[in-house]
Amino acid sequence: MKHVVSIEDLDNKRIMGLLKRAKQLVPVAEGKKKSKALDGKILANCFFEPSTRTRLSFESAIQRLGGTCIGFADSSATSHLKGETLQDAIRMVAGYSDVIVLRHPHEGSAKLASEVSEVPVINGGDGAGQHPTQTLLDLFTIKEEIGKLEGLNVGMLGDLRYGRTVHSLSQALDRFRTKFYFISPKSLRMPTHVTDELQNDWSTHENLDKILGKLDVLYVTRIQKERFPDIEDYKKVAGAYRINAEILQKAKSKMRILHPLPRVDEISTEIDETEHAAYFRQAFNGVPVRMALLEQLMGKKK
C-alpha cells in the first residue's frame, strides 16, 4: 500500500505522472466534466487542527470524482480529548474509509499513522513537518504557469525560517536544476538543514530589488507577527518585503508570483489583476492535484 507521508516518498516519475494527470482533470475539477472514477469510495478527513483550504479542497476533489467524504474539522469534537491515542483513532477510521487525510499538530504523526492504517494515509500537514500535497500543487502551478519545471530561477521571499512550504518546495525543486534565491530578513533565513541538502546553486539576499529581474517565479510567504518580540521590528520588516506594482516594474513580464495563502498585506491587492498574480489559480490547483493523487491511490489499475 502506498502512503503519502513526505514529498520524498514520490520519485520524479511519479510526480510528473501526477502533474500530467492533474492537468487532464482540470475540467472535472471545474465541474465542466463529470467523473465516476471513485464511485463508492469514502475519504476520511481527520483534522486534529483546523485547515480550511486543505480540508475543503480534499472534500471537493473526492466529490468531483464521485466519492464521498466523512471526518472532523478539529479535534475538539473527537475522543482525542478523552485521551485516545492517534494510533487507536487511525485504526478506527481506517475501518470506516478507503483513504485517510491526516492533519495534526505534531511532526511525524502521518508516519506513525501510516504504520497502523489499513488504508492509504495522506499527510495533510504535520506540525512544522511535511505537507506533500501542498508541494505537489506548488509544482503543478509552476509547471502550468511557466510551461516547465526544469532549470528555472526561483525566488523565495518572506519567512523562510519557519515556513515549511518553502522547505519542502526547495527540496522538491532541487530535483529540477533550479537556481534558488532566498530573500528574507536575517532573522528569518532559510535554515542550514535545508540549504545543506541542496545540489543546485542557491544564494541569500536581504533585498529583492537587485535580483527580481532574474526570476521566473517568486514564491512569497507571510511574515508572522508572533516571530517578532518587538512590534516595531515587525512593522519595519513586513513593510520592507511588501510587493506592489512599482517594485514589479523590474520583473520579467512572464514572472509569476505564488503564495500559499492566506495573505495579509505582503502582496498588494493592486497586483491581483496583473499577469504576475498566480496565487488564486494556485489555490484552485489544489483540487485537480489532489484528485490525481486520490485516483492513483484508490482508482482501478489501468
Binding site: T85, H106, G108, K111, G127, Q130
Partner: protein, 152 residues
C-alpha cells in the same frame, strides 16, 4: 595475561567490555545504570592499548548485557568489544555494531515530535553515518549528532 589487566583481578563470571573509547567508560556506567545493579563493577580508565593507544575497560560481575544495553553501548563506543566470562575464561567474544534502525533506546530532542506526544509509542532512528555518529528520527526527521544523543 598482560600486566595491565592484573591491576584488577580477573572475574569469575560476567562481562568484560573492552576497547572502550577512552573517557567514555563513566558515561557508559551511567547510561547503562550498571552501578545501581547491585553487582560488583570495575572501571579502568586510560589503560594502554595496542589497538587504540588508550582505552577504558568495564568489568561487570555475574551479569550479561541485554540487547538494549548492547545497542546503547554501540552508540556510545562503537569500538568496544564484549567478552562473556565463564569460570575465569572467555566463553564468548562479541563485536558490537550500531544497528541500521535504533529502536527504543534514544529520545527524540524535538518536543513537538509525535514520539514524545503519543502514549505508548516507541522511538525509531535511522543510522545516517557511523564514523561521525549521526542518526535521524524516522517520525519528525530531526537529525542528531553524537554529542546530542539522549538515552531513554
Amino acid at each position: 595475561m598482560s600486566v595491565n589487566l592484573l591491576r584488577v583481578q580477573p572475574i569469575r563470571n560476567g562481562t568484560v567490555i573492552d576497547h572502550i573509547k577512552p573517557g567514555r567508560g563513566r558515561k557508559i556506567l551511567e547510561v547503562l545504570s550498571l552501578s545501581g545493579s547491585g553487582t560488583t563493577i570495575s572501571l579502568l580508565m586510560n589503560v594502554p592499548s595496542k589497538k587504540q593507544n588508550r582505552k577504558d575497560i568495564i568489568k561487570v560481575e555475574d551479569r550479561e548485557l541485554s540487547e538494549h544495553e548492547t545497542e546503547k553501548l554501540a552508540l556510545l563506543s562503537p569500538s568496544a568489544r564484549i567478552n562473556i566470562i565463564r569460570n575465569y575464561a572467555v566463553a564468548e567474544k562479541k563485536k558490537i555494531e550500531i544497528p541500521k534502525v535504533i529502536s527504543g533506546t534514544v529520545h527524540c530532542p524535538n518536543d513537538n515530535c509525535i514520539s514524545n506526544n503519543e502514549r505508548g509509542s516507541s522511538t525509531h532512528f535511522k543510522l545516517l553515518e557511523h564514523k561521525i555518529l549521526r542518526i535521524q528520527c524516522i517520525y519528525c526527521g530531526r537529525k542528531i549528532d553524537e554529542d546530542k544523543i539522549e538515552f531513554i
